[in-house]
Symmetry: C2
Subunit: 309 residues, 2 copies
């Protein structure tokens, strides 16, 4: 096999209570990437459609992730990468993660799968480090594994995949403003109250329990964030109105997707997710703010192979 | 029914990662209590064996918890309570919780079960408030519900019961020193780093996932505490040696039981729990420190009725 074409999905990190540890894989939003073996021992980004991103390997997240993989798994050949970006950079649904995870996934396939998907996370994290200054895994893990992932620990890396309940659907609205992950991180306080932390880890426990027991009510009650949302929410236009809008439509809960500015809601059933989408759209229509909106099931497997030869 | 005799179990709160939210119910360590209906509309503590505790209703945790229940559920009669304490006060395995939970459980039975056990938690918490100054639920919840409990939220109270994996056993060693919960709380810092908090909620998520998937390794890896243990561990004689001792015997993990001074280990299988007990005993034998040690399965149902008529 010398050629592979993949779909690399968008992801929602944090999920309110799980800052830096939880992530969810979307099903119908994502980039396409093709990767080809080449004789020359190098990584080359030949084309990026849909976004103005650097082609230079060391400055491109997919390039850096690929180099991290090949630094460990030596070959005497190289790879050419083409990317069609559908996930907007800075949207908060794992644009850089899709590129980084996609590149190492595709190369691993072309190498004959020396690594399990879980083991690719640490290479993809190097792409995230380039993008945001922090080698976080909460987007690349769900992109590579699908479902909902928990990064229990970074040192050593310990990632748990949790299957999403079948009826869970996500609505994501992306106001067309750009918010850089690095900026969104810089507003965070480095110390928090023990009381808020206790509330937060109670909710992480509740959310995980809700996933395993398919208790949608518990999932919804656990989607709370006392730590990051009160600060980052201020950077997102109409944030409180979006939350109220989806709540009135019966969404289980809502919050900031990753570091924003996208806002997500989780719902039980497609119809509720659709109603949440209408209500959230109305908020931005009223504000005359351009936006994109997605309604998606939870992708159970992560990156998909579209073609190979 | 005018009389009931119950077994009210000891409990391990916090479980390392889950400060103030997680708790576990022990099976073979606990108090006995008898409660009788009396004509007079009052709560009377008639006898306490095995501990020097106040008989005055308003100063006794079981009295205060009973009053909280009867404040809401009015009767024209009262109750007499006798307690045989086997759980030492200040041991860190929920001595006050056993008394508070036991009293409201027994009275609820004699009233004809107007409340579900889960609804009794808030009354029992009033006993905890008397004992430690804080109306926490992480001991009374597992005592009343059994298994492992997660207090997701205090306002509103939202408690999730998780069944413990069958092969999980606890070892608890209690050095014969007294450490008051209120004192153990006062040493805690009220602000923590965001980084440590993230580690902690990653572990809570991992622990809960490990319970549902019966992944004993994950349960063990998640039994970590970067926040409370480094501070409270200093108050417990030989704490680091105890941790190493049970680890060398293959325990999954260990930590401070509640606010200490008891130290617990969780193991897969009774034999490992027994080996952990021997190794932990040896530490205190070497230090010539008197101790009590318990090996227990996880009590799936909480408080047990021994007799009623």
């Amino acid at each position: 096999m010398d050629y592979i074409k993949i779909f690399s999905p968008a992801t929602i990190a944090n999920l309110s209570c799980g800052f830096d540890v939880l992530g969810l894989c979307l099903d119908n939003v994502g980039d396409e990437m093709t990767v080809r073996k080449i004789d020359e021992k190098t990584i080359r980004i030949t084309k990026i459609e849909g976004a103005d991103l650097p082609l230079e390997t060391e400055k491109n997240v997919s390039g850096v992730a690929a180099l991290a993989l090949l630094h460990e798994w030596d070959t005497d050949y190289g790879f050419e990468i083409e990317i069609t970006k559908n996930i907007k950079a800075g949207s908060g649904i794992g644009s850089s993660a899709a590129s980084a995870a996609g590149s190492v996934f595709a190369i691993n396939e072309l190498l004959g799968r020396p690594y399990e998907n879980k083991d690719l996370v640490r290479f993809a994290m190097q792409g995230e480090k380039l993008a945001s200054g922090s080698a976080h895994a909460d987007n690349v893990a769900p992109a590579l594994l699908g479902g909902i992932t928990l990064v229990r620990s970074y040192d050593p890396l310990d990632i748990i995949k949790i299957e999403a309940p079948e009826e869970l659907f996500a609505t994501v609205i992306h106001p067309q403003i750009e918010l850089r992950t690095a900026d969104a991180r810089s507003v965070l306080k480095q110390h928090i109250t023990l009381q808020n932390a206790i509330t937060q880890w109670g909710n992480v426990g509740g959310f995980v329990a809700g996933l395993y027991t398919r208790d949608y009510g518990l999932i919804g009650r656990s989607l709370q964030d006392k730590i990051v949302e009160p600060i980052r929410g201020l950077l997102i236009p109409g944030f409180d109105r979006l939350k109220i809008a989806c709540q009135t439509q019966g969404a289980l809960g809502s919050g900031i997707s990753g570091s924003g500015p996208s806002v997500f809601a989780l719902s039980r059933g497609f119809e509720t997710a659709q109603n949440a989408a209408s209500a959230m759209s109305q908020v931005y229509d009223d504000m005359k703010l351009p936006y994109e909106i997605h309604i998606s099931g939870i992708n159970p497997e992560g990156i998909k192979i579209l073609d190979k030869k």
